[in-house]
Symmetry: D2
Amino acid sequence: MIFTSDNAFGVAPEILRALGRANGGGVPSYGEDEITKGLTRRFSDVFEHEVAVFPVATGTAANSLALATLTPPFGAILCHEVAHVNVDECGAPEMFSGGAKLIGIGGAAGKIDPEMLAATLKTFRHGDVHQVQPRCLTLTQSNEAGGVYSLPELSRLVGIARDFGLKVHMDGARFANALVALGCSPAEMTWRLGVDVLSFGATKNGAMAAEAVVFFDSELAGDFAFRRKRAGHLFSKMRFLSVQLEAYLEDELWLRNARRANAAAKRLADGLKATDGIEMLGEVEANEVFARLPMAVFKGMMKMEAAFHPWPNPDDAAGGHWMQTIRLVTSFETTDEEVDRFLALVRK
Amino acid sequence: MIFTSDNAFGVAPEILRALGRANGGGVPSYGEDEITKGLTRRFSDVFEHEVAVFPVATGTAANSLALATLTPPFGAILCHEVAHVNVDECGAPEMFSGGAKLIGIGGAAGKIDPEMLAATLKTFRHGDVHQVQPRCLTLTQSNEAGGVYSLPELSRLVGIARDFGLKVHMDGARFANALVALGCSPAEMTWRLGVDVLSFGATKNGAMAAEAVVFFDSELAGDFAFRRKRAGHLFSKMRFLSVQLEAYLEDELWLRNARRANAAAKRLADGLKATDGIEMLGEVEANEVFARLPMAVFKGMMKMEAAFHPWPNPDDAAGGHWMQTIRLVTSFETTDEEVDRFLALVRK
Amino acid sequence: MIFTSDNAFGVAPEILRALGRANGGGVPSYGEDEITKGLTRRFSDVFEHEVAVFPVATGTAANSLALATLTPPFGAILCHEVAHVNVDECGAPEMFSGGAKLIGIGGAAGKIDPEMLAATLKTFRHGDVHQVQPRCLTLTQSNEAGGVYSLPELSRLVGIARDFGLKVHMDGARFANALVALGCSPAEMTWRLGVDVLSFGATKNGAMAAEAVVFFDSELAGDFAFRRKRAGHLFSKMRFLSVQLEAYLEDELWLRNARRANAAAKRLADGLKATDGIEMLGEVEANEVFARLPMAVFKGMMKMEAAFHPWPNPDDAAGGHWMQTIRLVTSFETTDEEVDRFLALVRK
Amino acid sequence: MIFTSDNAFGVAPEILRALGRANGGGVPSYGEDEITKGLTRRFSDVFEHEVAVFPVATGTAANSLALATLTPPFGAILCHEVAHVNVDECGAPEMFSGGAKLIGIGGAAGKIDPEMLAATLKTFRHGDVHQVQPRCLTLTQSNEAGGVYSLPELSRLVGIARDFGLKVHMDGARFANALVALGCSPAEMTWRLGVDVLSFGATKNGAMAAEAVVFFDSELAGDFAFRRKRAGHLFSKMRFLSVQLEAYLEDELWLRNARRANAAAKRLADGLKATDGIEMLGEVEANEVFARLPMAVFKGMMKMEAAFHPWPNPDDAAGGHWMQTIRLVTSFETTDEEVDRFLALVRK
């Protein structure tokens, strides 16, 4: 029973098999192979739009390279204050961009509050050399607190960004989970709303180490290939990176995996809700569940074979630490049986 | 018949199988898994020395992160003028180090000339703020021109570097090929000579995408883990990177693969030497062969199913382009039969 | 009647004369001249401590070079959320440090709240590669909101920084104004409390363009000279930079100028306090006065020959914009007569 | 008798007086003053072209900021192998550009050889992500070896750069000396040939610390103001920087000073040529003289009150060190009498 993170899980069998399939023979290196070249067509089909696609191995690389391509060194990147790029990347966006500044915006459930975004943007004086210049908004879908922006919510935030001349990046480390939660098309959740660049995550949802940076406007991609190479993220045996993405898209594996993870999260949440003494935090929209357990229950669980993380929550401290917030993440490998065993343990 | 590059080949079956073996179950991410932790012991055994090991996926990352750890932004990195880090990385060492300067030194067969190294180091004034300060020497073993430094050659270069207070890095993208060529131990080719940090390559010799940065002095490794994360080179599902290295070392797969590649190169070279009209360039010490073909032969070969690269050589131009230099790279997958077929084509 | 900023004023006559005195003849360049060399002695005397001194021309350079010397690229610099380095330098500390992250801490009157500082530092996990690592605290004395830290306040903040292993930098763009306000010695306000590096400002208080970066621990200064050169901040005709600092310290010009500025600010504040309808913000401790004027008075003043800046204040908006906050800065050139004329205008 | 460098000299009296003239009163800071604003008109007149002008205090800043504006981090800057930006700036262009690479080209008398430039540019593959991409050529006029490019020489080099899509920067630390040497107009030596950006030096020719970055195409200047601020090179009391440039251009002070320096160099060279045993190196075109002295004469001179620098010359070593190369730099302050006294000492 592993609920620590979706990256604690392994590789989907379909993707592992694809690695074997791609092996053998000599093929051009550094992305000149046919599998890599074919990704453009596949992604363009999925997104119903001509796109430029760049595979990389980590989400840090995908996000940081995308943000650096959109933002000059004297620029500012607006993000949620708890966004992964702001608090969990050891300053990677700063490194890749040559020292751009991340500006954290507040908002409930990990979602940027549109009023706060607009208010912050208004405090910047366009062209004032004493200030970094806002150039990019990054939105995480689904986000670090388990939330999923609705299409109208996304549309409003993108609109504000556009009004101030910003480009829009979407951190889609859990893109599939959000898509399945909203039940919309990839196009509807991205370029149709005005998103310029997407970090399309696959690693958390069944790949070994593969993400795709997807530019909906290929003009913007200009420097990306140089930046990727220069950062050590161009793989010589690129086909093994690309084939993961190929298999991920094939027969809707990505959507099937995400549906499984989301369903497991829902089952988990429903079970916890029905359990006395447990308090749920936020809606369970994708594959993350946040709940507050009585401290005794939490301590008991820590001794069991269930693995999960406590989560920082100021309310726990304020309440005298009688309750402990935890985060439970489900994955494409999580079974209903595991969920039920976890719930049984909690109830005990 | 693929002789374009060793990275045009696939993954050794032992390594592919290891990926499958590592799959399944939930394990701690970001290198906290047992496979990754076990690498320290394995590498320490191989090198007969306590080492700190950091897996990364590309040679660009391994070299650039290592050099950035050894060199401040105002430092200089001395390298051969045709070293990969100097001419084939799109400025990656400059990016990772925050703008350190690479100083190219000449020397035959891709080997740094010790006289030139010493002469260059003497032109720098230690502590003069107007100049970048030499802090690091990087040696490629085996190198871009197919050469392998002998142990006395390495020792002399390392000695000069030490005399001027420099740290020494070894770019071992083809470390195994060099080791097998010299017939010495890993210890003898590295820390016993004074090498501080090694980029231990596996990708070109059978891994999918795996290199190890090996610090022989763990004091020097201080910042490395932060730099790796910040550059997007810390993998969440790290076990799949680490297990490639584990399998690579297991049962001397790395040495067996390198012996195969070197033997194929030797057979190729011997065959070419015995062929009229062909001129060999340099000794074939590892898995690269450089030869000059009459232009007619070259043009004929280009139409065949043999794949290889012409190589820039000013002598070809100076000689009126009657000859064309080519590079042939063999790999762990190259068979004697392929070599013989290639030779037959050339002779025809 | 200029109250816009202390950098809107000119050069103290003593300093202008010193420039002429330094002229003539050929002297060694790049700081090898006698005037520059003599600064070490002068500053060591003033601070009653052996110091290493580096003149630069701007406060941006002084602060950013000092912070970059104390903080690795993966480090974090803690500062007040409205600190000049955080909001008014177009990301200069980020540039000089290679992408370190500034973490803004709240607190009234531009002073970092010690509880908030400690709480923020506790959220960082030492050695966790996913997070930037706090390495430096920067304190502005006197600060952007006109506040002056008392010695106990400074001591407490420095103590917290030390407890978490941070180095301490002081942004002393208005160091003299703070010193005069507290009536203590330079030593008492700096190294005796544990401050490691000081940006000792002179420009705002009568120099043309001169600041000194003062290291109380010369060990820490290691890289500074290289960083200064590399950033274009080593002057060839350095004596003209150094002689400004020499004259600034001579006969306590710096303290006399600061006393004048502070006294003018006090007279201004007393006058405003005694005026109906005007609300003072914070204590006037150095040479800045913040006050809220009825909007009609503000608008009237804007038509007069008095120059000053409105200041952003959310309370103004919240109150329906019936009041307007303004900032008034006095300088070494501000006369009592000017202050009185200003007060007369306000009352009219 | 100072012949060490033109930056060993002081400030022209006209410029020192101008500093006093600019003093007094409160004026807008950060370049919003009338003196700074007026520079656009003055420079546009001098260059017979609409220009964008940015004053900075050092040549390092002028060159590095200009090059960083023209070159992305993955770009290459082509320069002479002994260019100041390549060997005497501690890697400043690398810092400002975020790690761009300088490629040194050979050529006699400090002048880039056009054949070598074209040959080097041909080795780069446009769009190949493995290589830095050449984006900028920088030419020093007059250069580090005392040479001055003729207009046809400049035209040819600029033409080659244009053919390969490069922008052209001119390092004019000694622009006036070159201009006077050629007897042409500022327009003829810059934009009419295709130069895009000029570092217009004043410090070496009589200013205290002032250079102007001049963009002939204001489109290119886009980011410059942000980069200047972010690098700490925007002065708060900017008028004192700008007024130096104003006085420098007034009544052709710049040309008069340069004529004086050049005439002194010519007198010095003519005298040395007429002296037995002394060998001249290169033509004396601007204000630098390179000569080889018999070692005995050199040693004798070192004991006299004449100050000058020995200069590294491999020929001296090859010849058994019987001769010593020296560099003599004249300035606007050098008198004929000083030159004659120096010559008398040599002859003795």
